[in-house]
Symmetry: C2
Subunit: 503 residues, 2 copies
């Protein structure tokens, strides 16, 4: 206890989760630690669900990104959530959002902190932050993510700490907590390499604002990512070939430039693919470290990884905890406004690899909205990276739902990333290098290299008819969403419906 | 002559525009100075038009932004242009682009330099740079813009200088030429305020690469901007009221934060509107300085203005030239990768005011494509600013073409700026403050405050029916472009066609 709470006065604040949850009142806005299911506040949100059974309780909830432990599901089922920022991945919450029951504000993950400081979002009443320790000065040592915890702690009227003893105390030193100064006299982020540290190892707060400390010992929820499959292996292969060609033409060195890889199965598989690639001395400057990061670190392919969270399977989580002193020299976790900072993404020259839900002829990308209307998760950090990257690569399988959905469409039904921010598109079919191409040239590359063969003729036919109408970005506007409409009506984007389903 | 070409060896390179143009061969890529019609290469491009009459000549052309002197028109008519980057505003070129005759690569204006250095675009064979002087070391002193001239001069195999004696030699010292270093060891841009200088006053080049110097004396083409009108005055008034309310709530000081204002009539009128606003000690960190900038400087409202170009009417151009020593203390011109740098836009906390062609229910903005297909000018720098601004404001009149076109539509026919990057929307009808709102809440604000009354019921009806289908961003996908289709078929977006045209 004395090792974990080194600030003596704070030891008086230890209490139960139920007592801590009683600080949270109807109408408040909460800031919870947690990013991609890592380092999330666990006990107090669950106590809040119980509290909601006894009294009306409607709150706004901000986090870093997604939370684990079914927190979003339980809060949604209890009717507690009225507003949710800036990202989520929970199926129950997703249904409530799409039903219009929860107001979801989907944000670039680097921007929530800035907007809070600017007073453009509701003020944080209570921050609930998971910690591995409280230092002599009352500073908070984070656990498996940093996320938005620093800004929540900085701005909240009251702070609740969940002190999680399942995380080794040796995690202290893994984090680099730097916060931008006030405008307009703010200075640069003086970070010049992936491994550099520019801040402190803990979140400085006035300890008088620590209203409660709750002891916990629950591990993070493990990662959702599925293993690679033949299509994701092909996607990884196309990316490796492309990058190797860049090295061959001396546009990149064998160490490439720092990689950012999105969260999820395809992205994880792409990074896994670097195990067999002819590159050495790699580095990551990313949001989330997944299992593949540890494979590459252990294989000596990857020298250093910077991110805001570690979200891994249970075995990798165990390995990390066991060898934390080893990994602490090779990994740094930063606030998400630093891991995703446009300033740093452009300076370092990141190679960004993110996942598309669908993309179109001209290379516009939909990352979020099924059929243009229904939210999946949120834009996350993809826009922070894609806009400013040295190379912005988006990946997707060419078809979904057994071939009833083409992920390459005439026009995306929702735009998260415009063609300006998309350099390379990859499906298992192939890779379209769109750099320096006009929209019509981009369309020809997408038709040739990315669309599934079973949709290629239809896409080419659309493009040819659109070109007859002219324009920089030709479209037959009244047919632009006809594939989506056909799917809505017949269950399949194919002409003739799903009878033509491929194997 | 000795004052203007202080590097003695370079004086040997003086030649005619025709001789200089003979350096340019079929298939080459050219980099021309020039941004928003300011500081553009004039004589050599026109000589190139003559040369094209004698031989096959097809080139790729890069500039900072738009060129003056009908250069794009003449080159298009002569059939010289095969590719054009990254912006244009010429009606003849626009037709050729939309006809598919010229490949137009529309880019965020901060990014062309970065992509050239990365080898992602065709290499520059010849750079043609307008200069006011050549220094003792052979460095190039720019004229009324900086734009991409530094990167073109840095990378080109050969450099042609157009030495324009109509620009006073006293312009030397107006410019701040800073170029980012090589990746991955690049350092920060150490710029902490609008007036700070972090580079030299001229573009350093190896003088051996200066292949020719052409003497010219032609002034820049004057600005296109029209005077303000009742609608633009109302838009300016809504913005002033909004910003004053921010000051009242202590979210901004009376000096606000540095302003960026897009190019054109509405933006110029908005800036003009600050003359009567209750703000003091303003600063600009923008792309282009227009007439309104000089009104505000002369009135003492504006203390300092940073940009990449000065594009003004003939009288203001004359005044600037006469009092250049005075203005040189209050203005700095920078390379466009610095004036538009995401790193600096976010650090300084810019209030960005840009023009929309149309915007939709949810706050997505179309800045470029008429009816989703036909290019107007290009995205310009709006994406550099909007994504990273402290406040991103987009302005548009609510209707166009005498009311046959609503600039507020169910779904924009092309997306340049996603809802994530749009905080405030303004028409003459009113202002919608979208900060912290979910998409459905944004739609209600847009319907109430921005859409023209004659389209309000139709937009509300669309939104209500869309909500019945559900979703985070509700749409009736098969009707999303029905207003655009109706305009295509009947000449008006109104139900019943243009018979209901408003006065």
């Amino acid at each position: 206890m004395h090792d974990r709470i080194r600030h003596p006065a704070s030891r008086q604040r230890i209490t139960s989760a139920d007592h801590a949850a009683a600080l949270i009142e109807n109408g408040m806005t909460l800031g919870l630690s947690g990013f991609a299911r890592a380092g999330d506040a666990k006990a107090v949100p669950h106590a809040l669900v119980k509290r909601a059974a006894q009294m009306p309780l409607h709150i706004g909830l901000m986090s870093g990104a997604s939370l684990g432990h079914d927190t979003d599901r339980l809060l949604t089922e209890a009717g507690v959530l009225s507003r949710r920022f800036p990202f989520q991945t929970d199926p129950t919450l997703r249904r409530a959002i799409n039903h219009g029951d929860v107001a979801f504000i989907d944000q670039h993950l680097s921007q929530t902190a800035e907007r809070l400081r600017a007073g453009h979002l509701p003020a944080i009443d209570v921050a609930v932050i998971e910690a591995a320790a409280i230092t002599e000065t009352g500073a908070i040592v984070p656990t498996m993510s940093v996320g938005n915890a620093p800004v929540f702690a900085q701005l909240a009227r009251q702070i609740v700490i969940e002190l999680n003893t399942s995380v080794p105390a040796a995690i202290e030193g893994l984090h680099d907590i730097y916060m931008p100064g006030s405008r307009p006299q703010r200075g640069p982020m003086e970070l010049g390499s992936v491994s550099q540290r520019i801040g402190g190892s803990a979140i400085s707060v006035d300890p008088d604002r620590i209203a409660a400390i709750v002891m916990t010992d629950q591990a993070d929820s493990p990662s959702h990512a599925l293993p690679s499959d033949p299509e994701t292996d092909q996607i990884a292969g196309h990316i490796n070939d492309f990058l190797y060609n860049e090295v061959h033409h001396t546009r990149l060195q064998r160490s490439l430039l720092p990689l950012q890889v999105g969260v999820g199965t395809i992205a994880n598989a792409v990074l896994h693919g670097f195990l067999d690639a002819p590159f050495d001395g790699l580095s990551l400057y990313s949001e989330v470290l997944q299992d593949s990061t540890f494979e590459l670190l252990d294989a000596g392919k990857l020298l250093f990884a910077s991110a805001s969270a570690i979200t891994v399977s249970a075995p990798v989580q165990h390995r990390f905890m066991e060898q934390i002193e080893h990994y602490r020299e090779r990994i740094v976790l930063r606030p998400q406004e630093i891991s995703n900072a446009p300033e740093l993404v452009r300076r370092l020259g990141i190679i960004a690899i993110n996942t598309a839900l669908e993309f179109d002829l001209y290379g516009n990308v939909n990352s979020t909205h099924v059929s243009g209307t229904h939210m999946m998760n949120g834009i996350g950090g993809s826009g922070d990276f894609a806009r400013n990257a040295h190379l912005s690569i988006f990946v997707s399988k060419s078809i979904a739902k057994g071939g009833d959905v083409s992920c390459v469409v005439p026009m995306v039904s929702h735009v998260d990333h415009t063609e300006h921010d998309v350099d390379v598109l990859v499906t298992e079919v192939g890779l379209a290098d769109l750099r320096g191409l006009s929209p019509r040239e981009r369309a020809r590359a997408v038709i040739e290299h990315c669309v599934h063969p079973s949709y290629r003729d239809a896409l080419r036919d659309y493009f040819n008819r659109a070109c007859l109408r002219g324009g920089q970005t030709p479209h037959v506007l009244e047919e632009a969403f006809s594939w989506h409409q056909r799917q809505r009506e017949t269950g399949s984007m194919r002409e003739g419906g799903s009878a033509l389903r491929v194997a």
